[in-house]
């Protein structure tokens, strides 16, 4: 009912249950809870509620609609809009206008039952005739209400003349997105760094809109959500323009730099020193650099405020400012976390979700890294054995791998580093972590047998070069401070120490990466995200795309996350890894976007892809 807040209404019922002597919980009660309370009630709130709306019947536009329908078919039954579950509230917010419905239901309201008596052909006819009636205000010959057994529950004419609900418009300026030759418009909104403190520092959230090619954009743009954490959307725009080209004919691409990344107050840290790269061969997060970066950033940023939850609020503000309807979230890797948090916070602002290489919201990283990498290494080496060219080039690759790992572990591997006199000890953990990063995709893992072979023969130069290059790229491409702000509050505190031994035993990475990150988080100001934020349940259509050779986000991540998404398709790409793309995905995604549902999408469409060849020389 208009005037009632749905959350308060839910709370009222929960309070009532409490008043009847129940101990109320929101998740499966533990044994302690069950034994300590006489009455326990498990109450799960449906988070997809919304408030009712009502369009005043005496609006000029409402009177016009009434006149048009009366002209078409005589007397009309007028009823106050009831709410509600069409859902009109969501439509009003999306279109920023009022709604008037013309229901064509059976007299018995059969559209509320399992059998809606829906006859598509008649629905189509009625649709068309109503449209004609609306457009030309013509007389209609056909009887509609009395004969037609069509139960298209309601269609909604958004009455554009009605009052605007949205935020103040923002000034957009034409701009260019790196590598994109299409025109773009850029702008920024101002938000509070800490919205709980009105006098908090202000942040600018920058965004770029690449308009639909055909000029007339649908109200639902595609919004890439980047990984890292710490990647920036605007500077990566080119990749999305290329991948999503066919989908951008009639949809805008909305690139929003997450707070703390790109143009939105990037939290940059420099862990790589070109003049003295030795530290980068020892540590992923060199403690001295982490500490000094935290100190430097803390002079102008509250590092505890750069969470996905805050970003969700920012993104929703951008959406409303630009007057967009529900978004098509296009998320990859850690960006899938951002998507999940946004969906939790603003379910009615999302039309579809694409989750590429999902990171489950309730699996604390980087604990699973060691096993995921080990299993992908085993399968990569098995693929090398099975590949005649690879096998004949590196018949002893497994022994060589053990040999180099033992050498590194003994601390006896000394290498020359460009710009550094003498030799430097190479850390086993750092090399293992770099190998792990290669295992994210078969295309990069294809060089692994060759690298192992070279190192076993004493040539460590390719590995040293690779580590330093990647470190330099991460330094310039990622906001490493954002990476720490997010993972130190959302992940590392949730790693259970008693699980570490089992999760890292018999793996080449062991607990090195975890301990590095834990040490960095000790030096990084962070809050601990509420545990309740680590759940999600949604009916929004979701397309999962995962690779079956992904050393970063293994397939069990998808299997674990998927059940929380009731309307989903799980597409698995064969012989592909992390956040990859292929023509078969393009076709599926286009259809998914067009229809706004997973109906009829073939989850096996990408199971024919073959492995890229191994590097043998």
């Amino acid at each position: 009912m208009v005037g009632i807040d749905w959350r308060e209404q839910q709370q009222g019922v929960i309070d009532y249950i409490r008043s009847r002597g129940y101990f109320v919980v929101d998740s499966e009660p533990t044994r302690e809870i069950m034994t300590q309370h006489a009455r326990v009630a498990l109450v799960k709130r449906d988070e997809l509620g919304y408030n009712a709306v009502r369009t005043p019947m005496d609006l000029p536009i409402a009177k016009e609609v009434i006149r048009a329908v009366e002209n078409a078919r005589g007397d009309v039954v007028l009823l106050p809009t009831m709410g509600g579950s069409v859902p009109l509230g969501a439509m009003e917010r999306a279109a920023q206008t009022h709604t008037i419905t013309m229901p064509i239901a059976n007299y018995d309201d059969n559209q509320h039952t399992a059998n809606e008596n829906l006859r598509l052909k008649i629905c189509g006819t009625v649709w068309e005739r109503w449209l004609r009636c609306w457009r030309w205000n013509n007389h209609l010959e056909s009887p509609i209400m009395d004969r037609v057994r069509c139960v298209l529950s309601a269609f909604v004419l958004t009455a554009g003349a009605a009052s605007q609900i949205g935020h103040a418009p923002v000034a957009l300026q034409s701009c260019s997105v790196p590598g994109v030759d299409r025109s773009a418009r850029c702008g920024a909104i101002e938000v509070l760094e800490n919205p709980d403190q009105p006098r908090s520092r202000k942040l600018e959230i920058h965004f770029a809109v690449i308009s639909a090619t055909k000029g007339h954009a649908r109200p639902d743009p595609i919004v890439p959500l980047l990984g890292g954490p710490g990647e920036a959307a605007i500077e990566t725009g080119q990749m999305f323009v290329e991948r999503l080209a066919p989908m951008l004919n009639d949809r805008d691409l909305l690139l929003v730099d997450q707070r703390g990344a790109g143009q939105s107050g990037a939290l940059r840290c420099h862990f790589f020193t070109p003049d003295d790269p030795v530290e980068s061969l020892q540590n992923l997060f060199p403690p001295a650099c982490v500490e000094s970066c935290a100190k430097g950033l803390a002079t102008h940023a509250d590092l505890t405020q750069y969470s996905y939850r805050r970003f969700a609020d920012d993104l929703e503000k951008v959406r409303r400012t630009l007057g967009y309807g529900p978004l098509n979230l296009f998320a990859g890797s850690y960006g899938t976390r951002a998507a999940q948090v946004f969906v939790r916070a603003y379910p009615s602002s999302v039309r579809t979700i694409y989750l590429g290489s999902v990171v489950p919201i309730d699996i604390a990283q980087p604990l699973p890294f060691a096993k995921a990498a080990q299993s992908t290494l085993d399968r990569t080496l098995a693929a090398c054995d099975a590949d005649p060219a690879c096998h004949s080039a590196f018949p002893r690759v497994r022994d060589e791998f053990s040999q180099i790992m033992e050498g590194l572990a003994s601390g006896r591997v000394f290498v020359k580093v460009p710009g550094h006199e003498g030799t430097v000890a190479l850390s086993q953990g750092r090399v293992a972590e770099w190998f792990r990063s290669l295992l994210y995709r078969p295309s990069s893992a294809a060089g692994l047998p060759w690298l192992i072979d070279r190192a076993s023969k004493g040539d460590w130069a390719p590995i040293v070069k690779g580590i330093l290059e990647d470190e330099r790229d991460a330094d310039s491409g990622l906001s490493l401070g954002l990476l720490l702000s997010i993972t130190c509050s959302d992940d590392v505190p949730f790693v259970h120490q008693e699980e570490v031994a089992a999760a890292t035993r018999n793996t080449f990475l062991a607990d090195w990466r975890l301990r590095q990150q834990e040490a960095a988080c000790k030096l990084w100001p962070h809050s601990i995200a509420p545990a309740s934020d680590r759940e999600i349940h949604t009916k929004i259509p979701t397309m999962f795309v995962s690779g079956d050779f992904d050393g970063g986000t293994p397939l069990w991540f998808t299997r674990h996350a998927a059940p929380s998404f009731q309307n989903r398709v799980e597409v698995i790409m064969s012989n592909r890894g992390h956040t990859e793309w292929a023509p078969c995905i393009e076709t599926l995604y286009q259809r998914f976007l067009d229809q706004g549902s997973v109906y009829g999408l073939d989850a096996s469409a990408c199971s024919h892809l073959s492995r890229p060849p191994f590097k043998t020389e």
């Binding site: 009912m1 005037g3 009222g12 498990l42 009712a52 005496d58 039954v77 007028l78 709410g83």
Partner: protein
């Protein structure tokens, strides 16, 4: 049985919701809306005939009035024994998850979707 009692306590015999403050804050209908409702055809008797109903709740108010009041519906009710015996048993009900159609708070007759 506990769940049944708990849920049953939420409404009286006439379908009036007993949860405190449940009806508070409703925005009243405007004059035009009240006039439209007064003019709308009342087909309650026809619906009762077609659904074989000898009695409906609402203390004599007709459907169009009731539909403009909030309601609280129990959408379903299940217990651990149903699948096995096809019979109702309420032994395990104190831990049953239940949902109400209250995010809608709309109707007296139907379920949650339009």
């Amino acid at each position: 049985m506990m769940l049944a009692q708990l849920l049953a306590g939420m409404k009286n015999e006439n379908g009036h919701v007993l949860v405190p403050d449940f009806y508070d804050g409703i925005q009243p209908l405007s004059t035009a809306e009240k006039a439209a409702l007064a003019q709308a055809p009342v087909n309650d008797q026809m619906l009762m005939n077609s659904f074989w109903l000898g009695h409906v709740k609402g203390n004599g108010k007709h459907l169009l009035e009731l539909i403009n009041e909030p309601s609280l519906n129990v959408n379903g009710f299940a217990s651990g024994q149903i699948e096995r015996t096809q019979r109702m048993s309420f032994r395990q009900l104190q831990r049953q998850i239940w949902t109400c159609g209250l995010w809608l708070a709309l109707t007296g007759v139907n379920n949650s979707r339009v």
